[in-house]
Amino acid sequence: MLDFFQSLSDGVLFGSTYALIGIGFTLVFGVMHKLNLSYAAASVGGAYCGLLVLQVFAGAPPVVVFFCAFLAGGLLGWLVYLTCFHFIPISNPLATLMATVGMLLLIDEIIVHLTAGMPVGYPAMFDDVMLRMGEFTVRGDLLMVFAVSMLCMGGLLALLYKTRLGLATRAVSQQTVAALLCGIRVGQVNAMTFVITGLLGGIAGAMIGASVGTLSPLLTTPLTTKGLIVTVIGGLGSVPGAIIAGLLVGGFENVLQQYRGVTERDLYVMLLLFVFLVFRPGGLFAPKGGRD
């Protein structure tokens, strides 16, 4: 029983990074009704960019690395918007989708090329801290990952629900034509959405690096899959859905890893997705209509 709760809690804490990745997919989908498949790769790319600080200032504290990953993620998000969406006919759904697949492969290849395909170490914080409650433990670094992720989500929700930018973003996602006629520059709002999701992605990548201890190009594909699963389970376009689904998938996979082993766990995650697609295809929080 203790094993169960131990792996559940570790999984839920790590699942906050899945939630961030899921938010990135779901927000772009909500606003533009497009999938940005390069998102998880760009997030890992952002995390790698954070490491560049260590090349310049050897011994820079981890928090500086994380912050640089955050900024680099935002920059990458903007570049993805420019290359895959801005100059590509938006009315052709396949064109932008294929462009993002191309971007996914490109980012992946650049990382493989620059690191010779080898995993690199990633700095962590509080990795020597261990909270104990009897036999039950909470890893300090995972707690930090969870706290940072939650902070970013809180910031995002405040941005979405308390500011003019958030208002414009939600208006565009609900009624693009009317938003245009209300004087909103839809292109600008779309670009901002990519920058914001990119920032979240950069921090998600950094948090994954911090909790695993290494970054490797092998991360991009499973992270893309997990992000999409989280998005579908949460409900396409729903930010709260992505948050809950991220924690759910994190906890679920870690419990199954405990009992069935690392090679089998993703099978069960796929099974969970299957169950959702059959019994609740709209996800946990399918956004209500409001768009024609």
């Binding site: 941005l159 308390k162 500011t163 003019r164 930018l165 208002l167 414009a168 939600r170 208006a171 609900q174 009624q175 034509v177 009317a178 938003a179 245009l180 006629l181 209300c182 004087g183 909103i184 520059r185 839809v186 901002m192 956004p287 209500k288 209509g289 409001g290 024609d292």
Partner: protein, 251 residues
């Protein structure tokens, strides 16, 4: 000089001439009615003026300036707003936020810096919006989600949203569709009160009771071309109009 002037405006969709060489001129302060059977090009005309798609040929001038090639989101700045026949509200925003989006206009935003413009909060916005909410009879529902409003209330909110952009020209696309006669009466009062405040209105409508009661001038379209223009009384007496409406099938 006319406020809105269409000269030889055409719009083709493939081989279909939805609007075909249309000349219109709407004077400042008028309520101008646009009539015609289904498919006669009324809505296409409204879409062309509001910039949802480009002209095939011809020109549209507003206050003496050409609108050709002006991006849709910038037309608001010149003073053009519209409503839709199939209501297009921001369903998951509250009533007052729907108006806030519209009021968050470029004129307003130009006064702020980048951060105030994007990251500014809601303070002060609600007070500015209140008069409009009262005008539309929605003040008591300002925190309701737009999608939870009744049909009539949604129509009122859409009109209020268009007004929140402070337009000089308001395009109303079948504002009375689906309304009962009491609601049509209220709408008529609102349109007349808007005209009284100096807003020019281009009204596309099938409800004759409304059109004949509020318009100063009416143009009738058929197959994308203007077949008649005149005062409501002249239009009612016009044989070509009767033929277009009653000739083939009863509309």
């Amino acid at each position: 000089m006319a406020l809105l002037e269409l000269k030889a405006v055409s719009r083709h969709f493939g081989g279909v001439r939805a609007v075909d060489g249309l000349d219109l001129s709407v004077e400042q302060g008028q309520v101008f009615g646009l009539l015609g059977p289904n498919g006669s090009g009324k809505r296409t005309t409204v879409n062309l003026v509001s910039g949802l798609f480009p002209l095939s040929s011809g020109s549209v001038t507003f206050q003496g300036n050409s609108l050709d090639g002006l991006a849709t989101h910038l037309r608001l700045q010149t003073g053009i707003a519209r409503t839709f026949q199939n209501i297009r509200l921001f369903g998951q925003l509250s009533v007052w936020q729907n108006l806030w989006v519209a009021q968050n206009s470029p004129q307003d935003r130009a006064r702020h810096g980048f951060f105030a413009r994007w990251l500014g909060g809601q303070s002060g916005a609600r007070e500015e919006i209140l008069p409009l909410l009262e005008f539309s009879g929605l003040a008591h529902k300002q925190d309701e989600l737009a999608s939870n409003l009744s049909f009539g209330e949604q129509r009122r909110l859409e009109l209020a949203r268009a007004m929140a952009t402070r337009p000089k020209l308001l395009l109303l696309d079948e504002p009375a569709a689906g309304m009962n006669s009491e609601e049509v009466g209220q709408l008529r009062e609102r349109i007349l009160s808007l005209r009284g405040s100096g807003v020019t209105i281009l009204l596309v409508e099938h409800v004759m009771e409304l059109v004949m009661g509020v318009t100063d001038c009416i143009a009738v379209l058929n197959f994308g071309q203007k077949i008649a223009e005149g005062t409501p009384a002249e239009i009612q007496a016009n044989p070509a109009v009767r033929k277009a409406y009653l000739g083939g099938e009863t509309a």
